[in-house]
Symmetry: C2
Subunit: 239 residues, 2 copies
DNA sequence: AAGTGGTCTAGACCACTTG
DNA sequence: AAGTGGTCTAGACCACTTT
């Protein structure tokens, strides 16, 4: 079924295929059983289980012993161990994403950030993000200058910068460290979000690394706390 | 090596064993290779990999292709897909946990919560949580009355209620839904946390379910935002 | 070359759910 | 009884890292 010369592991090809069929609506509610998938794709059951287990970790599928594997009904998994772009997140909330570019260019890094990102200069992109035309968040993103300059040549007024990095610049994003706090918003930003001055926001900092472990983005986002909250699903299994 | 009559799956027994050896310091930095673990415990490699993969998901181990499996250096995984008790969380921060019981007893549920927890009455436990004697959070926990009455007979002034539920009441906790927002604190609670009135807190709501899917706890926690933030590690793999 | 984790197969039996 | 996911084995080859 799959091309054995493809360097992409079978379980990943299978996972993408299942993901696609879910998105296209070819699988409703339930996906075929592990043994059916074995036959359809001509792979072993371990491979099927490997593919499915990742989708379970991602919160896309749920297994029920003796019944089958079901498409998760949690409409939105804001957080499931994987970071996604703001655009995708807004789309998952069934809203229309929008973007307004405030400014971008090479800037010297503020002292309080120098320790965190270990660069003197960075390419800064500051944008307001909208959901159904309502300002939802302010994002300030810092990139290594070489990456930022390439991004600036692309369309940074729409779409997700993660997709641009991955698809246009061939940067393989790997993982991120994130921190959520509650912080007073500045007056400039308050105006952009239509919030009273000195209001508190949900403040997210995200360090994104590529497969080599190099920092490829530092993102600060302030969310309107009236419109946004972080949702999680966690298990007690790890105890 | 393991008792084959034990109904607990081998990979879980192995996982617990590895976890314990890490905690005891018998494994520093690196754990034995998969093939070594196979021989030591007399199980197949799949079983070893199954055990390890869960520990990787939990953020306790990290695999490096060609090098080995290493004990994660992230000293604290505040959030890694598993919820832990506040006590354990404070201990992981290398601080001493403390608790002050504010009040407890059967109460009628406020209207705004009725929809969420689908009970008329609940056993309420409200406590201030300290880290190194400094008030860190206020927790208000709602339990089904039968559970709450049992808990009240135990020591609710120390220790973790999750451990009490699991070990003393034999309730098997399964998973939780959590939501983080930023909220204005009430004047009563502000005093308990030594915060100015109308200050904002990091506000956590947690619904905890047992293996049958029944709600066994609803917990509201307000954290002093000066002292506490949520940390995450997320990957891009799920894309 | 030797050791590590990554991928994959073929097959077995168990436990749970539904007819 | 039949079908599902859960567990487990024994073995193979590949890709990456270190010696």
């Amino acid at each position: 079924m799959f091309n054995p010369n493809n360097p992409v592991p079978l379980h990943i090809q299978l996972r993408k295929s299942i993901e696609k069929k879910i998105k296209l609506g070819l699988f409703k509610e339930k996906i075929p059983s592990e043994r059916e998938l074995m036959e359809t794709y001509d792979v072993s059951r371990s491979t099927v289980r490997e593919a499915i287990s990742q989708l379970v970790i991602d919160g896309i599928l749920e297994k029920k012993h003796g019944k089958g594997t079901f498409i998760s009904k949690h409409p939105i998994h804001y957080w499931s161990g994987n970071f996604i772009s703001t655009t995708e997140m807004i789309e998952r909330m069934q809203m229309t994403p929008g973007t307004k570019l405030i400014r971008h260019g090479i800037e010297t890094i503020p002292d309080e950030l120098k320790e965190a990102i270990e660069m003197d200069n960075a390419y800064l992109i500051k944008r307001v993000r909208y959901a159904n035309e309502v300002p939802l968040a302010i994002e300030t993103q810092y990139y290594p200058v070489t990456i930022g300059l390439q991004l600036a040549n692309l369309d940074i007024n729409h779409g997700t910068l993660y997709d641009l990095m991955e698809n246009e610049l061939s940067i393989q994003l790997n993982e991120a460290d994130e921190r959520i706090t509650s912080q007073k918003i500045g007056s400039e930003d308050a105006e952009l979000l239509n919030l009273p001055v000195d209001c508190y926001t949900l403040h997210l900092e995200r360090f994104v690394y590529d497969v080599s472990g190099d920092l490829v983005e530092y993102c600060i986002a302030d969310y309107n706390p009236e419109l946004y909250s972080f949702h999680f699903k966690s298990s007690r299994a790890g105890k």
